[in-house]
């Protein structure tokens, strides 16, 4: 199917400094910091058409459009956002914010701690979804946006959208949570821990202060990305894409060379990732995922956690996503139903596993288009 709609075109990131320290859930605080963000479309006079897009593990504020002079620099959700696309920038003002602790511009472990003058490295404070959302709220305050038309996110981004609906209940109309979960399962945490151990045990990691040694723990990052990548794909898609396809016609009888195409693919993904991603960021963001658990303060009762929520919800899952399975989304739906909140839930029968939330399955984009059309009508009627 041909993509519907056009690109937002060339975009440029913006940056804003926050001099006031950000209090964190851990009890620590983050001294003066910067947030990098991008916006697409125009904010209307009533400032009522803003949509915040929250990003997942290895993404950024660069959600849509592309950068001048850079090939293949389309944003990570470019298929969803643009003029005439499901999240239509002719109607909405779309904001993408790079989360703190990331390695794509906002203050993170690669930056200097203004209090010590030294690179943060492993000393960058451990963040939570709640801390990120607090920092996003500050940015919106600066923009004069008191109430978002919607917050949307997939995976870890979906967790941020859910947190918005809980702790800033009166500051969003719609909450769209895609391929996400109310917390990580033991299996999810286990995968994260394998990735973390791969990085931490890399001799080049130097307890997180590798910058001073002029090295990068690339071996650890590669393995972390490889394990992550396996969990983003479904068994079926991997079978279909690679199967048992070999590199050579004959077996090489080697335990160390690449024999199967899937090995080649994973190594390539790992190599690519280790070139641009920061090891401390990876550790930090996997921890953010592990810690998210809004029911924790309510004796594990998710329904009680959602008693504060007011938004109109849209929950979407994918049948072949085994990392954040439909059953986890149904837990969220149940909590919303228990609180008599407006909610729609779509379970998209797509073959692509967790990655499906980044792809453009027509059923998936169809329900999002319908939802944003409803929101646009509401915004027009305010």
């Amino acid at each position: 199917m041909a993509p519907v709609g056009a690109s937002v075109g060339l975009v440029e990131p913006q940056q804003r400094h926050f001099a006031q320290a950000l209090p964190l859930r851990s009890g620590k605080q983050l001294a003066g910091y910067d947030l990098v963000y991008e916006t697409y479309g125009r904010l209307n006079a009533a400032k009522s058409n803003a949509v915040l897009v929250c990003h997942a593990l290895n993404a950024s504020h660069h959600v849509a459009g592309s950068y001048a002079g850079q090939d293949k620099s389309e944003g990570w959700w470019d298929n969803l956002i643009g003029p005439g696309k499901p999240l239509d920038t002719d109607r909405f003002f779309v904001i993408g914010v790079n989360n703190l602790g990331s390695c794509f511009g906002s203050t993170g472990p690669m930056h200097r701690n203004p209090e010590t003058g030294r690179i943060y490295g492993a000393d960058f404070p451990v963040m939570t979804v709640e801390d990120w959302v607090d920092s996003q709220v500050r940015l919106l305050d600066e923009m004069g946006i008191t109430r978002l038309a919607a917050v949307i996110g997939g995976s870890l981004g979906g967790m941020q959208a859910l947190d918005w609906s809980l702790r800033y209940a009166d500051r969003l109309r719609h909450c769209i949570a895609v391929a996400t979960a109310p917390n990580l399962s033991a299996q999810n945490i286990a995968f994260n821990e394998v990735a973390r151990r791969a990085i931490i045990t890399d001799p080049d990691f130097h307890a997180g202060h590798f910058y001073a040694h002029g090295v990068v723990p690339k071996r650890g990052l590669r393995v972390a990305r490889m394990i992550g990548h396996i969990t983003y794909l479904s068994d079926d898609v991997m079978e279909q894409k690679f199967g048992r396809e070999m590199r050579a016609a004959e077996l090489g009888y080697s335990t160390q060379d690449i024999e199967f195409q899937i090995e080649s693919y994973l190594r390539y993904q790992g190599d690519k990732f280790s070139e641009y991603f920061d090891a401390n960021t990876y550790l930090l963001i996997t921890r953010v995922l592990d810690y998210f658990d809004p029911a924790r303060d309510f004796g594990g009762d998710l329904s009680r956690a959602f008693a504060r929520a007011q938004a109109n919800f849209h929950v979407i899952s994918f049948t072949t996503d085994w990392r954040f399975s439909p059953a986890r989304s149904r837990e969220i739906v149940k909590a919303l139903l228990d609180n008599r909140l407006d909610v729609s839930y779509a379970e998209i029968d797509a073959p692509h596993g967790h990655d499906a939330f980044l792809l453009d399955d027509p059923r998936y984009h169809g329900v999002l288009r319908a939802r944003f059309q409803t929101i646009a009508r509401e915004v027009a009627a305010i």
Partner: protein, 193 residues
């Protein structure tokens, strides 16, 4: 339940301001009608992708679920009215779904094709399974895997101690109160636990 007059008849059974659950809600036509004319709030349940999308386009709440898996997601007596229109006969677990309907809703409303409608009886007497406007399928391709009659439902309701609050037939978009088991293609029951 595509006939608009039937949908209007069903809407009249739902008290104004009710909290409603519509099992097998199709394109959400009834839910939209109940919202716009009777100030009802609630949700539809659908399995088909196209119907889920249609509901979203109408702006009614829809939850994509397979009814065969039950209603575990809903608490006891959490709705004023649970509707199950033209759906019961498509489910394997008909009896379980009926009980689930009674568990989740203070009132249940079901409709289904009445196999004892006289043209169906004639057709069976002639040695063939009925094919009519309400039952347009051949025996080998029908989604109606549970074949029942108006009278059969009364027996099932009695078996489970369900209280029938109202019942009638529908034929050609009109309510049939006399001899519904013989004279109506569609059976309607309103009941509670």
């Amino acid at each position: 339940m595509s006939d608009h007059r039937e949908i209007e008849l069903m809407a009249e059974l739902v008290p104004t301001g009710s909290r409603v659950l519509d099992l097998g809600c199709g394109t959400g036509e009834l839910l939209a009608l109940l919202r716009d004319r009777r100030q009802c709030a609630g949700y539809g349940i659908e399995i088909a992708d196209a119907n889920v999308l249609a509901c979203m386009q109408r702006g009614v709440n829809v939850i994509q679920l397979n009814l065969e898996e039950g209603l575990a997601i809903f608490e006891d007596q959490s709705f004023d009215v649970v509707l199950q229109l033209d759906t019961l006969q498509n489910l394997r677990n008909t009896e379980k779904m009926l009980l689930e309907t009674a568990r989740v809703g203070r009132t249940g409303i079901v409709s289904f094709p009445n196999f004892a409608h006289w043209p169906n009886r004639l057709r069976v007497l002639g040695g063939r399974m009925p094919v009519t406007k309400v039952l347009p399928y051949e025996w080998y391709d029908t989604p109606n895997i549970r074949v029942g009659t108006y009278a059969d439902f009364e027996v099932l309701a009695r078996k489970h101690g369900l209280r029938i609050l109202d019942s009638f037939g529908i034929q050609d978009g009109r309510m049939v109160r006399g001899w519904p088991n013989l004279l109506a293609g569609t059976a309607v029951f309103k009941f509670s636990r």
